[in-house]
């Protein structure tokens, strides 16, 4: 890892190369593995990667462990279902995708007042407040029958995509969302928003005391975070075509994105993506071997415990920190070699 006290550069050569490879990989993946079940898996992996990357804005950088994100997943899903009921006539079939930015905006705006109230609490209380939000939303989804169809579910109009390539438009939509979510994550990490969020995570009172705009950056991070969750929910609803409250507003959705972020590495750029790439196929594999049961939930619990015990900071930070310490050691050796008086400084 490069050690640097230079000013932040938004565009670097390495960054461009990594970004280019990432985009090329996302674009080429369905061509490399042209099987329907793999396309389906890729779609879910990328969709959850989007959610994990965006959960990381507030949960990772900001240290606010929101467990209520699934509420916005559900809100996104039901908004999509409301816009595109089964009697809606689709022409190209892509119209629901074009509605995604609007749904994102709705979720983002809705998140502003919610965030302003919820983020008056911290840490464990915040987690409980947000999980309450989740169950309130689920109860509303069950009971606002006129809007959601209640327990009977709501259908979303289905596009007449060629069956041979049915998954691909969904996959590429998810991939584009992931790129946007990732770009925003990158921007946060390179701007004062990210710096402020990290300060908030470390010591919020002190951050506030040194003039950090805590409320503003928290609300920005929360609102953009749930915007992507909402868009993911909408894409999911369009993909599966029929949604029920218990699946659209499911605590498991939150837990999955949180687990992915924790596994890959909180407050890192690539950690949530890595977590999604590991967990989603693992989950499908488990479902395949232990049947359609909920046994994979036990595996989730195990993964969570092992991560917390062995890699409390997640995979990526553990690796990068080892490299960083090595680089530091080399640097101090070099400094001592060039300056025999340097010893006294490090006292």
């Amino acid at each position: 890892m490069k050690l640097s006290t230079e000013p932040t550069k938004l565009v670097t050569r390495n960054g461009l190369i990594r970004g280019g490879v990432f985009i090329a990989l996302l674009a080429a993946l369905p061509g490399i593995f042209p099987q329907h079940w793999l396309w389906n898996l890729m779609f879910f992996t990328i969709l959850y990667a989007t959610m994990a990357v965006s959960w990381n804005y507030i949960g990772g950088f900001g240290g606010y462990p929101s467990l209520g994100h699934a509420a916005f997943f559900g809100i996104g899903a039901y908004t999509e279902a409301l816009f595109f009921k089964t009697d809606h006539v689709l022409h190209s079939g892509y119209e629901p995708f074009f509605m995604l930015p609007v749904i994102g905006l709705i979720c983002a705006l809705l998140a502003i007042p919610i965030g302003m109230v919820a983020m008056r609490t911290r840490a464990d209380v915040f987690a409980i407040v947000t999980i309450t939000l989740l169950f309130v939303t689920q109860t509303l989804a069950f009971n606002l029958r006129n809007l959601t169809g209640g327990a009977q579910g709501a259908a979303v109009v289905q596009p007449k995509f060629d069956v041979k390539f049915f998954e691909l438009p969904f996959y590429y939509t998810a991939a584009i969302m992931l790129l946007f979510a990732f770009a925003l994550s990158y921007y946060y990490s390179k701007s004062k928003i990210g710096l402020s969020l990290t300060a908030i995570r470390a010591d919020e009172d002190k951050a506030k005391g040194v003039g950090v705009r805590t409320l503003q950056v928290k609300v920005i991070a929360f609102s953009t975070s749930v915007a992507f969750t909402g868009m993911a929910g909408a894409t999911w609803a369009f993909y599966i075509g029929f949604i029920y409250p218990q699946f659209a507003v499911d605590p498991l959705i939150t837990i999955t994105m949180v687990l992915m972020t924790f596994l890959g590495g909180r407050a890192t750029l690539w950690g949530p993506v890595l977590g999604a790439v590991i967990l989603m196929p693992a989950q499908q594999l488990l479902a395949y071997y232990v049947g359609g049961s909920q046994l994979y939930l036990l595996a989730y619990a195990a993964i969570f415990l092992i991560t917390i015990l062995l890699l409390p900071r997640g995979i990526l930070p553990t690796v990068t920190n080892k490299r960083r310490l090595k680089a530091l050691a080399l640097k101090s050796v070099a400094a001592k070699a060039s300056d025999p008086l340097a010893e006294g400084q490090s006292a």
Partner: protein, 243 residues
């Protein structure tokens, strides 16, 4: 000279304990004022009240000619009133350089600026150089020693070019050489026009660096004056040694 900070009948109760009881004092602009007193006399609570870290019950605080009794810590910081903590509080997850940058303040639009801008870097480098922290600039603050954290916290409150700095025990747990360094930094910045209000238990430090000295006992000032005057005041001896 006029008062840069003026505290009028400040009171704070924790349950039945009156931590600060009808406390009034002024801090002259350009001075290095010490706030001393026995343990539990309310020094840190006064700091917390003045800087807006805890809610004020009654009384008024005037800073730089403006009534700031209702303002929270962030606003006061932007007005030029900064502080350090007894247990130095640095942002462990940020690098040393970033610790300075985050304390620079600025309008809310600056949150969209680069994490460390060219300007930030220049200003931070200046302070790091001055506080001899350049060689640890890219370490995480959590990796610093106790003394280095004290220096870093002091350096970071200077990032915003404050008018008044409140130091809560700047020499606690710090080796004698570093204490002298601290004293030098305080004197230097005082010459540049920064006013200091210092809570300190190290009496020799107070006698050498500060003038005037305010003595607090049971949440209230009991004496005020030059170090010599205060030292020979019978009320002060009483407060420290008991009746």
């Amino acid at each position: 000279m006029s008062a840069i900070l003026s505290v009028k009948s400040l009171t704070k109760e924790f349950g039945t304990l009156k931590a600060v009881n009808d406390c009034s004092f002024d801090v002259e602009e350009g001075s290095i004022t010490a706030l001393i007193g026995p343990n539990g006399s309310g020094k840190t609570t006064v700091f917390n009240l003045v800087t807006g870290y805890i809610g004020r019950q009654s009384g008024a605080v005037t800073f730089d000619g403006v009534d700031v009794s209702k303002e929270h810590a962030g606003n006061l910081y932007r007005r030029g009133l900064t502080r350090t903590f007894q247990q130095s509080r640095v942002f462990g997850d940020l690098t040393v350089q970033e610790n300075l940058v985050v304390a620079k303040g600025g309008s809310w639009k600056t949150i969209f600026a680069p994490r460390v801008s060219k300007d930030d870097q220049l200003r931070a480098d200046e302070l790091l150089e001055e506080f001899k922290l350049s060689h640890v600039a890219d370490l995480y603050a959590s990796e610093l020693s106790w003394g280095q954290r004290k220096l870093l916290e002091f350096a970071s409150v200077l990032m915003s070019k404050p008018k008044l700095v409140l130091l809560d025990e700047p020499t606690a747990g710090v080796n004698p050489i570093l204490i002298e360094t601290m004293a030098d930094h305080i004197r230097n910045y005082n010459k540049l026009g920064v006013t200091f209000l210092i809570v300190e238990h190290d009496m020799s430090f107070v006698m050498r660096v500060c003038d005037p000295v305010i003595v607090l006992d049971r949440g209230k000032p009991i004496a005020q004056g030059t170090p010599d005057v205060v030292q020979s005041d019978p009320r002060v001896l009483d407060a420290y040694l008991g009746d």
